[in-house]
């Protein structure tokens, strides 16, 4: 395997053969879990959920940053997951590379939109 991974045979659209993405996917999963719990608690606290309380929650800087960090984690998590799906099912290198690029584009666009939404409140 190692000897095959040079020159023409080099795998250009694989994983990084390391622990980083594996840990990142799990760490971001835990962050999203914590965020879900925080949001559920905010949701279940007494008082009706109207625009005032909903937007009021997102108007606070700490919640903005928490939401932002959670979304960035989500996008990285989604990148690792989608990359694994393409690597498992799509064998032609050119098609796989295209799908990787489209996935990154999709997620980066979503990240930009997230910033716009959060800092407009």
């Amino acid at each position: 395997m190692a000897n095959d991974n040079i020159g023409y045979h080099r795998m250009v659209v694989g994983a990084h053969y390391g622990l980083f993405d594996w840990i990142a996917q799990r760490a971001t999963a835990v962050v999203m879990m914590v965020y879900t719990i925080v949001l559920l608690i905010a949701f279940l606290l007494p008082g009706d959920v109207g625009y005032e309380s909903w937007a009021g929650l997102f108007a606070q800087q700490w919640f903005k940053l928490l939401t932002f960090a959670m979304f960035m984690g989500l996008f990285y998590h989604a990148w690792v997951g989608m990359r694994n799906i393409w690597m498992d099912y799509v064998k032609p290198i050119g098609v796989r590379l295209l799908l990787h690029v489209l996935t990154i584009f999709w997620l980066v666009a979503c990240a930009g939109w997230t910033v716009q939404i959060l800092w407009r409140v």
Binding site: D4, G81, I117
Partner: protein, 136 residues
Amino acid sequence: MSESIKTSKRQFRNIRIVDLPRYRFPLGSIVSILHRASGAFIFLMLPLILWLLDRSLTSEISFAYFQGVVSHWFVKLILLVLIWAFLHHLCAGCRHLLMDLHVGLDKEPAKTSAITVLAVSLVLTAVIALKLFGAY
């Protein structure tokens, strides 16, 4: 070494797509493929989620618009599928994390946890469905 570069890599395929109907899926593999499918579905639905968040936050007018959109039965249906996808992905993810810690790797506990993941996510989705479609 030069030989190993010249010979093309052997492809090992343990199952082909035409074999799928004849293949028996253990519960663990059902949880696994649904974990993958739900993740891919959420990935594709990200713009919808962000759009709904945007409408719910921008202003009181857009919030009212958001409430109108969300009260449509078809949107509710999509949201319900999304909620199931999220809950299943979350539960199956917890199972993954436990297995990473070498908890429940044996055949029997793995089967039990697979049933638990399917059951918990479906029951919670059903509860939310009743709430969403106004049964209580």
